[in-house]
């Protein structure tokens, strides 16, 4: 079958790509477009390393087909920072040492951004349940949760950047 032509807005840029009908959005991002920040940890929606935001909704890109991106706006880890200015979640991940190997980090940051976009003032428990779809084997989540809570405070204007 011929490849499908898809037009989507990826990280703010209108992007055209061709993909096989069965290709996942994750494979499109990584292998067709070359945005390798989204990671494949399981390809079954269990680890969250491929998290992206599609029209405001947090999605595992391994569970989405590339053709489903038609007409949608997608934010990947590469689109979280504003040019040279890191997003508060990214900055706080660095300051709190909330990453070790860094493989799950893109997905965690995208998921945390999606949380704070929706709920600027989460409790620790809310943050833990929201991020329960993002596996991290290195950190034990302690510093991850601290970074997210601190970033939330920054975004509310209650703490320094």
């Amino acid at each position: 079958m011929a490849k499908q032509h898809v037009t989507a807005v990826i990280n703010g840029e209108e992007t055209e790509f061709l993909c096989e009908t069965q290709q996942t959005m994750l494979d499109v991002l990584r292998d067709v477009i070359g945005l390798t920040g989204s990671k494949e940890g399981c390809a079954s929606g269990d680890c969250g390393a491929c998290s992206v935001i599609v029209d405001g909704r947090l999605v595992c890109s391994c569970l989405m087909l590339g053709v489903e991106a038609e007409g949608k706006a997608i934010t990947t880890i590469e689109g979280v920072a504003d040019g040279e200015t890191l997003h508060p979640v990214q900055q706080k991940f660095l300051e709190h040492a909330a990453l070790q190997c860094g493989f799950c980090t893109p997905g965690l940051i995208v998921a945390a951004k999606a949380l704070l976009d929706e709920n600027p003032n989460p409790t620790e428990t809310e943050a833990r349940y929201w991020l329960a779809g993002n596996l991290c084997r290195c950190t034990g989540y302690d510093k991850v949760i601290r970074a997210v809570m601190d970033a939330a405070a920054v975004m509310r204007g209650e703490a320094a950047r």
Binding site: E20, Q22, D27, R30, L35, T36, G37, S38, K39, E40, G41, C42, A43, S44, D46, C47, A49, T76, I77, E78, V80, A81, L86, Q90, F93, L94, E95, H96, A97, L99, Q100, C101, G102, F103, C104, T105, P106, I109, T125, A127, R128, Y129, L131, A132, G133, N134, L135, C136, R137, C138, T139, G140, Y141, D142, K143, V144, I145, R146
Partner: protein, 755 residues
């Protein structure tokens, strides 16, 4: 030089790691992120049978599929003779390694590689795998360790005769090795004992479950040179093993250390690289292979499941007079479980007069085990620390007091030989006693558990290079893959020695052609051994800079001192000169002797052993059997924390892995010997909502054998959690859980059985 007593400006602070921005923006390049022109996708065909003779492999249909460029089977690899190799934290045989990478005559576990293809797309490669026709003669199999030891068990290897027993057995068996350690007279010790506890404990194999599946990209050139991008714990290990398995010169293989997405011991050996090289050679194009998560579970090594018996005898005052242990460890399909450390670590925390330990290394039809964080120690310690808790109860003694009473100290001779030196176990126990968690009464309805743990830590071979760049900034290159932030600590140690801002130092990991040999990242050795090399290289640079300043000023080098990143004349007799900083000296380098660079290779000795103690409060839901960790504190002697945040992170991460091992993780096999839960939905590692904040308490008893007092920290924290949690469950419910995991159905059943 030794800086333990010095006033340090960089060590002990928490700067942002040099590779941090790359990792929070998605720019960091892991092996699966690499590409090459003309790249093909490699895939591996795996045995569906737990144990089967391979009668034939017909690859013709797969080769005929358009887009398929190469197919390989064991026939494409040299038949490697038996030869002992040292693999990270445990012994392995090169022949076994070769047979594990590609099965030759028998498939020994479900998921064992039997063939591989390279094709232009992943989809074509997948279709080609289905077209490879493998004819098997299915054989009886054995999964569990005790069943594998039975006299009538199916034998995996016709040439495996138990080592460590005399006379050599007449018949082959699945018992690869027997390990024994004896100290004193254990029988006499038990006769002296006034209180004796005995118990049998089992642990399940658990996977390291790094989030990044194994991946590599290999490119074979027509002149026989190979470039490999690999995510591994040791790119020199990848080079050595790939060369060995393919019969190549190491000089023809260059391995680039891609970022590594977690390893925990599981990436201290190879699975894919020789296959990718063989496919690349045959196809004449670069080949990338990345495992699926299912392949990671079915085809790569977990740690051993085990059966452990413990007997401890004590006087009424708590003095232990005899201790005995029998351990049976699953090795997987080839010999080489961590039975050695299993036999050593259980009782290493204590000063015991009479000890008798016997361990068995047992093969069965499971994936070959790989190292997992303090290999063997968590298993043996789950048993010993559970038994210690029972002993404390039987004696009516505080569990901390029992540990204090018998704690190993400097000068204590271990049952496996060495004498403990420069250890901080007592300081750790003091910190437990002083900690608010320990002093706070247990909340109504909860239970509290305490357990301690030990790991040797290792040193070994490392190389580091320090370059002063033309502008006075500094680059540090080492041969140690950075899994958890070690580039930050390398840069910090070098900045400290040079007396400059850490922001002016950038650390990097150099490929196998660009730095001297460095043993892999494992055994908690990098900050200790590679850090020692980096520190010494920085000191050599300082010596060189002093010489250059002396030459510039035309004064003797002894009259120059280095302070805060500058050369000064030492005292008024040396003359009056303006200090020369790094930038000024770098600018003049061409006129004062050329590039300013030093390389140091070490074989570091004296890795200080590590001790930790964990306190855990739990609630047990009596309806469901679900255990909630309410509060968790992990206290550890870390020697000296170079970057305390990353040290805490090691401790928190290790504790969380231990919590998963304790409460959830296990391999579930069906009646055909096939794993039924090879995915993260059914093999459940802890998620953020499963764990509380984990308080990491850093006790710093400097290791005098390291310039900054470092001792390894990464492994100890996974040792105590299982027993700490089991002891907390006992305290909450009165029920002893001797079998892992303590998952809801098992806890519920135990509560029901106890009435």
């Amino acid at each position: 030089m030794n800086y333990v007593a010095s006033d340090l400006k960089v060590v002990g602070t928490r700067p942002i790691r040099p590779d941090g921005v790359d990792k929070v923006t998605g720019r960091a390049v892991f092996a699966a992120d690499t590409r090459a022109a003309g790249m093909l996708w490699g895939k591996i065909k795996r045995s569906p049978h737990a144990h089967a003779r391979i009668l034939s492999i017909d690859t013709s249909k797969a080769m005929a599929l358009p887009g398929v460029k190469a197919v390989v089977t064991a026939a494409d690899f040299p038949d490697i003779p038996s030869e002992e190799a040292f693999v990270g934290e445990g012994p392995m045989n090169f022949r076994d390694l070769a047979l594990n990478v590609m099965a030759r005559s028998k498939a020994l576990y479900e998921g064992h590689a039997v063939a591989a293809v390279a094709a232009t797309t992943q989809e074509i490669a997948d279709r080609a795998l289905e077209l490879i026709d493998v004819q098997y003669e299915v054989l009886p199999f054995v999964i569990d360790v005790e069943a594998a030891m039975a006299p009538d068990a199916p034998v995996l290897h016709d040439d495996l005769f138990t080592a460590g027993v005399t006379p050599k057995p007449e018949k082959p068996s699945n018992i690869a090795k027997v390990v024994t350690f004896k100290k004193g007279d254990v029988e006499a010790g038990f006769k002296d004992a006034e209180v004796v506890v005995e118990g049998r404990y089992t642990t399940q194999p658990v996977h390291q479950a790094y989030i990044e599946p194994h991946a590599c990209l290999a490119s074979y050139q027509p002149d026989g040179q190979v470039t490999i991008h690999a995510s591994s714990q040791g790119h020199f290990m990848v080079r050595a093993y790939t060369a060995k398995l393919l019969g190549m010169d190491m000089a023809n293989i260059r391995v680039n250390p891609a970022e590594i997405g977690g390893g925990f011991g599981g990436k201290t050996l190879i699975y894919l690289e020789p296959v990718a090289v063989a496919l690349s050679k045959k196809a004449g194009r670069p080949v990338k292979i990345q495992m699926t998560r299912e392949e990671v579970f079915r085809g790569s090594g977990p740690t051993s499941g085990a059966w452990v018996e413990v007997k401890i005898g004590a006087k009424k005052d708590g003095t232990i007079v005899a201790a005995q242990q029998v351990l049976k460890f699953q090795a997987g399909a080839f010999p080489g479980s961590p039975i050695g450390p299993g036999c050593m670590c259980g009782f290493a925390m204590y000063d015991l007069p009479n000890v008798d330990v016997v361990g068995y290394d047992v093969v069965s039809n499971r994936p070959k085990v790989a190292a997992y964080r303090a290999p063997g120690a968590p298993i043996t310690s789950f048993a010993v620390e559970s038994a210690m808790d029972e002993l404390a109860r039987k004696l009516g003694m505080d569990p901390l007091a029992l540990r204090e009473k018998n704690a190993a100290k400097n000068g204590t001779k271990t049952h496996y030989g060495p004498v403990h030196q420069n250890i901080g176990f007592t300081a750790v126990l003091d910190a437990v006693k002083a900690h608010p968690h320990w002093k706070t009464p247990v909340k109504e309805g909860q239970g509290r558990g305490l357990a301690v743990g030990f790991w040797f830590n290792i040193g070994g071979e490392s190389t580091a290079t320090v370059h002063v760049n033309e502008d006075g900034s500094v680059t540090v290159a080492t041969g140690s893959p950075d899994i958890g932030g070690s580039r930050a600590s390398m840069g910090m140690m070098v900045a400290e020695v040079l007396g400059i801002d850490v922001a002016r130092v950038k650390a990097t990991v150099a490929d196998t052609a660009s730095i001297g040999f460095t043993h892999l990242t494992g055994g908690s050795r990098v900050t200790f051994a590679t850090g020692m090399a980096a520190t010494q290289a920085a000191e050599k640079v300082v010596d060189d800079l002093k010489k250059r300043a002396a030459a510039t000023w035309e004064i003797p080098v002894e009259a120059v001192e280095w302070k805060d990143g500058k050369a000064y004349p030492a005292g008024s007799n040396a003359g009056a000169f303006e200090p020369l900083d790094l930038a000024a000296l770098a600018l003049k380098a061409a006129r004062t002797g050329g590039p300013i660079v030093a390389e140091v290779s070490v074989n570091a000795q004296g890795a200080g052993a590590g001790f930790g103690a964990h306190i855990c409060d739990v609630t047990v839901d009596k309806e469901t059997g679900h255990v909630t960790i309410e509060r968790y504190t992990a206290i550890q002697d870390v020697g000296r924390a170079i970057h305390p945040s990353y040290v805490e992170g090691q401790i928190q991460g290790g504790a969380a892995q231990g919590i998963g091992w304790a409460l959830n993780e296990e391999y579930i096999y069906n009646t055909k010997g096939q794993m039924e839960n090879p995915g993260f939905l059914d093999y459940r590692v802890p998620v953020a909502s499963d764990v509380p904040m984990i308080e990491a308490v850093l006790v710093e008893v400097p290791n005098p054998r390291h310039p900054f007092g470092v001792r390894g920290v990464g492994e100890v924290p996974i040792v105590p959690p299982m027993a700490a949690i089991a002891n907390a469950i006992k305290s909450a419910t009165g029920v002893r859980m001797p079998n892992l995991p303590m998952s809801p159905p098992k806890v519920r059943a135990a509560l029901d059985a106890a009435g």
